[in-house]
């Protein structure tokens, strides 16, 4: 009976610590490398600085406008969806709004070009009716459309979730006091929206600052290039590491600054979780017509590009696609990467959470334990501050000096993909782990269930549902990733998104449409399977 009370808890904390150190090394090593070559920066001419300044300005400008438009569109859409609780197909619409999060950006861009491009559906209609000439989607316009597609959906879902938190008594009270729609907005909805907006807006802004695939395809030239894309171009086309370093430093400073400012960033990225059954509201009937119009507009904006992906995908020349060995190489590479990245991501997420769970068990953690706890939480979301392309660029520079770029490429891409998925995996797993800990911790402690035994008998069966979903989400994110892979792509290292980018670049749009549909199918299929297969551990 003389063993230390700490011995039983140490392995979990130790593995969490290891995960934290590995994450730190994966991110900090390339940063140090970038700093190490920084003194070699020679050119500080006015032209050069002007170029850097215009890219930085455009990065902030497009993110700001994207955020503004996304949020402005999301507020009425969320209000309408929250108010019309019995709207036909409401659940399906909410699920549709969740899809963009799992769809590869490149695939969405393709769908948006189909709808909004020069030869797209909208242009065709405009020309036939003689209203306007064909639209030009390349440049700021296209970037904004794509960003609003992704982020209006995200913001609307977060807002609907916030609005559904309003207690039903508020609605009964509103009915009793015969509130008109504007009173409902003023007294009930707006306070909720106002408190949710800063977090949502800063999350959207952050995502747009770090957007890569959208800007790579729809942007162009220094007038419509973001820092992320410029870093990629300076390494892959101009091979100018010092410039990449300067741009990476700017990007990092921008993200870190924003992160410090927007400490209230929305931390609940509602991944695929369905929204609960909402309250019946007294103002439902009067607002029905306007709400229907708003929902229809939002729905067509969201559904058309997805429809375009499917329609142009099903007519793609699949026999030509599957006859190319490069397609099969890309497929295998993408699947292996996804499997590795998702496994790595789950191991990291679990190590961090198990350690935090162990530390939290102490009602009064020591100062050191509290510090460790917050460092672990920071490690989990480090990727939000240090964008994947910046990490990739750092590793690219390190490995280029040692001549290992090609052989290390798959490893680096898998690690960066795992890091990208980590915040999402933690979001999915944390509530489940914390809830499970509250129920089972004392029982496990009294029965001496710990370590592997606890994992096998309790954690795994109870958390299987969340673990599967987190795995599927990480795999989907990795399959669709372009940012990390683009830097390291070569004749020997091709992923499906890289192949898609090649096809788009060489105007093989029919083949591109086929690959895009396959990619979308993989990502959505993974999540769908995870939701179907996950066995539900029932509460007592």
């Amino acid at each position: 009976m003389q063993t230390s009370a700490a011995t039983g808890t140490k392995p979990a904390v130790l593995s969490g610590l290891t995960a934290m150190v590995c994450i730190g090394l994966a991110v900090v090593t390339p940063m140090l490398a970038l700093i190490a070559i920084a003194p070699a920066m020679p050119d500080l001419s006015a032209d050069y600085l002007g170029f850097v300044w215009s890219i930085t300005r455009f990065t902030v400008l497009q993110a700001g406008l994207s955020t503004l438009l996304s949020v402005m569109a999301a507020v009425p859409l969320a209000r309408a969806l929250a108010r019309q609780a019995s709207f036909p197909g409401r659940q399906a619409i909410l699920r549709l709004l969740a899809l963009p999060l799992a769809l590869p950006a490149l695939v969405v861009v393709l769908g948006i070009v189909e709808v909004w491009g020069r030869q797209g559906w909208v242009s065709t209609v405009l020309q036939h009716t003689g209203l306007a000439g064909p639209l030009n989607i390349y440049g700021l316009t296209g970037i904004l459309i794509a960003h609003v597609f992704f982020n209006m959906a995200l913001a609307a879902r977060l807002l609907v979730a916030a609005l559904e938190q309003i207690p039903p008594e508020n609605w009964r009270l509103a009915a009793q006091l015969s509130f008109a729609s504007r009173h409902v907005f003023q007294h009930i909805e707006w306070p909720v929206i106002r408190s949710a907006l800063p977090g949502i807006a800063s999350l959207v802004f952050m995502l747009c600052i770090a957007s890569f695939a959208v800007v790579l395809v729809l942007g162009g030239g220094p007038r419509a290039t973001t820092l992320e894309v410029a870093i990629y171009q300076s390494l892959r086309f101009d091979f100018d590491p010092p410039r990449a370093v300067l741009l990476a430093a700017l990007q990092l400073g921008l993200c870190a600054g924003l992160f410090a400012l927007g400490g209230r960033m929305a931390t609940d990225i509602a991944v695929m979780a369905s929204v609960g059954k909402p309250a019946r509201r007294p103002d439902q009937a009067t607002a029905r017509l306007t709400d229907t119009l708003v929902i229809a507009a939002g729905l067509s904006f969201m559904a058309l590009p997805m429809l375009a992906i499917v329609l142009s995908g099903v007519t793609a020349p699949f026999d030509a696609i599957v006859s190319q060995t490069v397609f099969w190489r890309a497929l295998v590479t993408s699947l292996l990467l996804a499997l590795t990245a998702a496994s790595l991501c789950l191991v990291m997420a679990w190590s961090l959470l198990a350690a935090q769970r162990t530390i939290m068990r102490r009602r009064t953690p020591s100062r050191a334990a509290a510090l460790l706890m917050s460092s672990m939480q920071a490690a989990g979301s480090l990727i939000l501050v240090v964008p994947p392309v910046v990490i990739g660029a750092g590793w690219f520079v390190v490995l280029h000096r040692t001549g290992l770029v090609n052989s290390a490429a798959p490893v680096i891409v898998a690690v960066v993909n795992a890091l990208m998925a980590l915040p999402f995996a933690l979001r999915i797993l944390r509530p489940a782990v914390v809830g499970q800990a509250q129920i089972h911790d004392r029982l496990c402690a009294s029965l001496g269930l710990s370590g592997v035994q606890r994992w096998r008998l309790v954690d795994l069966p109870v958390l299987a549902r969340s673990l599967t979903l987190a795995f599927a989400f990480a795999a989907a994110l990795s399959i669709g990733d372009l940012g990390a892979a683009a830097l390291f792509g070569s004749a020997d290292f091709v992923t499906l998104p890289l192949l898609l980018l090649q096809k788009m670049g060489s105007y093989r749009s029919l083949e591109a449409a086929g690959i895009a549909l396959l990619l979308a199918g993989f990502c959505l299929g993974l999540i769908w399977l995870a939701e179907k297969l996950r066995p539900e551990a029932t509460a007592q």
């Binding site: 009976m1 003389q2 063993t3 230390s4 009370a5 011995t7 039983g8 102490r362 009602r363 009064t364 129920i439 089972h440 004392r442 029982l443 402690a445 009294s446 029965l447 001496g448 269930l449 035994q453 008998l457 309790v458 069966p461 109870v462 551990a537 029932t538 509460a539 007592q540």
Partner: protein
């Protein structure tokens, strides 16, 4: 296995921002003590300290004279039955009980016989493959008691495990605990909010008020006493 005696020597504990508790008392081996007192008086905290779920800031806790400082809950000679969440919802009744024998579920033939015996004693024969959600509240607590039986530790701590049951069912459960107490000669401590339960099942009664043990005496002496500060106010007599 017969009971252990428990001694609390100036055991101090405080929740962050809360008033400190200060416990000094002892429980004889083989006694059955009912703990009563107003909510917030520290009943659950006291047995959490004994079970090892809370660490005292200072003071000593002895089981049969051995200092318990720094031992894990699973290493202490204690089984605790909680108010709820005593069972793993995804594991069946048999497995939930078997975890009391072996955390890795390595069961010998004797172990299985013993588990079957405990199930019979608690009226759970034939329920081995049921999941907790298929049981009534009383049956779930019986599973927890069956597990306490197979664990066979000298001390049994009960944290209001029957509070959610109706009066008749509660009496049945108390009778069951009382029978087990007599057969195994365990040291039992029952947290209760009903003095009648304590009179019914316990050999001793203790009164807690404002984080202190005000009295701990045999049941008859306890309930006839008039010198225990705060007790009369609490009982409303």
């Amino acid at each position: 296995m017969s009971g252990a005696d428990i001694r609390l020597d100036g055991l101090q504990f405080a929740y962050p921002g809360g008033e400190p508790f200060h416990f000094s008392t002892s429980f004889d081996a083989g006694s059955f003590t009912g703990l009563i007192g107003p909510s917030g008086s520290g009943k659950t905290t006291l047995i959490n300290l004994i079970a090892g779920f809370e660490e005292p800031a200072s003071g000593k806790l002895y089981f049969d004279g051995v200092d318990a400082a720094g031992t894990e809950p699973a290493e202490r000679p204690v089984t605790m039955v909680f108010q709820d969440n005593n069972l793993f919802a995804h594991l069946d009744v048999f497995t939930n009980i078997a975890l009391g024998v072996s955390a890795s579920l390595d069961l010998s033939g004797d172990d299985r016989t013993e588990i079957a015996g405990a199930m019979e004693k608690t009226g759970l024969s034939g329920y081995g493959h049921r999941l907790p959600r298929e049981l009534s509240g009383g049956q779930r607590q019986r599973v927890a008691i069956a597990r306490a039986l197979v664990r066979d530790r000298p001390v049994l701590l009960l944290d209001e495990p029957f509070a959610a049951l109706g009066p008749a069912l509660r009496r049945d459960m108390l009778r069951l605990v009382s029978t087990i107490h007599k057969e195994r000669e365990m040291t039992v401590i029952l947290v209760s909010h009903d003095p009648a339960d304590v009179k019914f099942a316990a050999t001793h009664a203790a009164f807690l008020d404002a984080g202190r043990v005000m009295a701990n005496r045999p049941v008859d002496a306890f309930f006839s006493a008039s010198d225990i500060p705060g007790l009369q106010g609490y009982l409303g007599t």
